[in-house]
């Protein structure tokens, strides 16, 4: 099962392969809907999205996707618990105001959560700060510190601790290389935190010891 669209970004292709065919998916910050459309057409996924930009929402609607114009920071609270098989947050968590709250909602709404983000622990970024003494700018992070929407950057190790704090179980980690290659890595390996330009995490809420699900807050 590897029918990827040629024009789909490599990180989105890697995400697509984490999605079970025929499942229900919510893509938070779905952009122009490229990933959702691919999932809907090629993997028969019941695809939904949330997107901030009105122009992008229009593009999604014209593609036949069901997308709500909204904000991850404010709109996730209105979603019922455990209604999606997978919730995707692609290259967005670093731009949210409250990443921990967003993460809690994602773990509540979806049975699985896919999160991708740029790795601030990459060696170029470390060296840039060390030798230039300036906030690093890279291909992923190409804006000045005062104009960037990325207000909550983190390293792979940082995200590991946040996931542990949120009582999430890491199911899979894929490292994104500078050349756009993807490679499954061990969650606690030190290498990716230094050499990966970005990471994709597949996580889920840890079940209680009784084997039942954590009681989700009632939001209807």
């Amino acid at each position: 099962m590897n029918n990827v669209l040629p024009n789909l970004r490599p990180d989105l292709q890697a995400i697509a392969q984490m999605i079970a065919p025929g499942s229900r998916v919510l893509d938070v910050g779905c952009g122009d809907g490229a990933l959702l459309e691919h999932l809907a057409r090629n993997r028969q996924v019941d695809a939904r999205g949330i997107e901030l930009s009105q122009q992008n929402v229009n593009m999604c609607v014209a593609r036949g996707l069901s997308v709500l114009q909204g904000d991850a920071d404010t709109d996730l609270a209105a979603y019922p618990s455990q209604v999606f098989d997978t919730v995707i947050l692609s290259q967005t968590i670093q731009a949210t105001r409250a990443p921990r709250i967003v993460l809690d909602h994602l773990l509540r709404i979806g049975r699985h959560v896919v999160i991708s983000f740029p790795n601030f622990g990459h060696w170029r970024i470390r060296l840039s700060l060390l030798f230039k003494g300036r906030m690093p700018q890279t291909r992923f992070l190409d804006q000045h510190w005062h104009t960037t929407p990325n207000i909550h950057l983190c390293t792979i190790a940082d995200f590991m601790s946040l996931a542990a704090e949120a009582d999430a179980e890491v199911e899979k980690v894929v490292a994104l290389s500078e050349e756009g290659r993807t490679r499954t890595v061990k969650p606690d390996a030190w290498g990716p935190n230094l050499f990966a330009e970005g990471a994709i995490f597949l996580i889920r809420a840890r079940r209680t010891t009784q084997g039942g699900q954590k009681a989700p807050p009632h939001v209807l």
Binding site: R24, N58, V61, A62, R63, S66, Q69, L220
Partner: protein, 390 residues
């Protein structure tokens, strides 16, 4: 044998006014109303545009707002003005009449050919006036469904409407989910808020305080509560605009004078504008109809029929929704529209939600808003594709 109508019957819509098509429902097919009464011998006036295809799969129902009518895309017979949504509906437009078959009905209780309080009560031979039963949004939708049955249209490709029209669209999806492939509620909500009811009540009280209202029986006296109706329209019109748009269009500019008059004439342009809105409205709208239709909106609370849980109204609903709201609309603010989107989400329905950035207030849905047209065009194309319409 038909007797000549008595002299006091001077309906707003005289017999020689062409209201388009009208479907009459005889005593064998009454409209069963939420108020617990039955309306017998009633008519629904409607217009159609475009051609129904052989598969009958390209029908779009457009539901009009409080003071709208069936003339969505053609000249109004009383005012001579273009259709109220010609920016949206017509050949090559977002709702493309070269592709879709568009139906627009005058709501039950209206005054443009559908039976309403200005019409003759067959039981008394006099105008209904306040004897007309109170109708609800659900009654309006029931009557539309009866018309579609009559026209042989089992399924709508889409139900579209703004404001009160959007309420009807939501009611359509709740009452007849299998008959609506897709739905576009615009600038609307699942309930009328306290503030909205309050503004309507101001309008109704203005009408009823007019001595020419005569307890609703003004037609019998050959009178018309024009002043009251005009004030109602003026008050309502303010709610259709935004503070920013009013400031931009009128500011504190004076009307045909260089200084204030130290009197109570229309010194300001905004006053003159509102007077004009009020005065032209009374020539095309019946005061009692205004009472009835505003009441229908006030009574609308979709969740009430579903144990108070809005999501229940859309349980197992296969309809695809696209909810469109406007940032500066304070009558049905984006938050009210989004509430519906969240309820649909909770019911696992297919829903898109768009908030269009504009300073034109509630009325934006009737105006030239390219983002709204683009959304509508794309959504309809996707809906048509989803149900195999060619």
């Amino acid at each position: 044998m038909t007797a000549a109508p008595p002299h006091f019957l001077r309906p707003l819509v005289a017999p020689d006014v062409n209201v388009g098509h009208a479907m009459h429902f005889g005593p064998d097919r009454p409209l069963v109303l939420d108020a617990g009464r039955k309306l017998t011998n009633f008519s629904i006036a409607y217009m159609t545009y475009g051609q129904l295809n052989a598969a009958r799969s390209n029908a779009i129902l457009i539901c009009h707002a409080l003071t709208g009518d069936q003339f969505v895309a053609s000249q109004h017979p009383l005012t001579g003005k273009p259709g109220w949504w010609e920016t949206m509906v017509g050949p090559g437009k977002a709702i493309d009449t070269d592709r879709y078959f568009v139906i627009c009905t005058n709501v039950i209780g209206g005054c443009m050919g559908s039976t309403g309080p200005a019409d003759t009560n067959p039981e008394t031979g006099k105008p209904y006036g306040l004897d007309f039963p109170v109708v609800t949004i659900r009654d309006m939708v029931r009557a539309q469904a009866m018309l579609l049955d009559e026209l042989g249209i089992e399924k709508l490709l889409c139900a579209v409407g703004g404001s009160m029209g959007g309420m009807q669209v939501l009611q359509w999806a709740a009452s007849y989910p299998d008959r609506v492939v897709s739905a576009v509620p615009i600038a609307t909500g699942s309930r009328h808020s306290a503030q909205n009811i309050a503004f309507h009540e101001v309008g109704r009280q203005a009408i009823m305080a007019d001595p020419d209202w005569m307890g609703g029986a003004y037609q019998l006296e050959n009178r018309k509560p024009a002043k009251g109706l005009a004030v109602a329209r003026m008050a309502a019109h303010i709610t259709y605009l935004s503070e920013a748009a009013l400031q931009r269009k009128f500011g504190r500019q004076l009307q045909d004078r260089d200084a204030v008059s130290f009197g109570f004439g229309p010194d300001f342009q905004i006053e003159s504008y509102l007077h004009h809105q009020g005065m032209t409205f009374v020539d095309r709208f019946d005061a009692n109809s205004y009472l009835y239709i505003t009441r229908a909106m006030d009574y609308f609370e979709l969740a009430a029929d579903y144990g108070g849980v809005l999501a229940e109204a859309f349980r197992d609903c296969k309809t695809r929704f696209c909810i469109i709201s406007f940032s500066s609309d304070w009558l049905f603010p984006p938050s009210e529209n989004k509430r519906v989107a969240h309820a649909l989400n909770a019911a696992a329905a297919n829903v898109s939600f768009v908030e269009i950035d504009t300073d034109r207030g509630h009325d934006a849905f009737l105006l030239d808003e390219p983002e709204m047209f683009a959304t509508m065009r794309g959504f309809l194309a996707a809906a048509a594709e989803s149900c195999g319409m060619t």
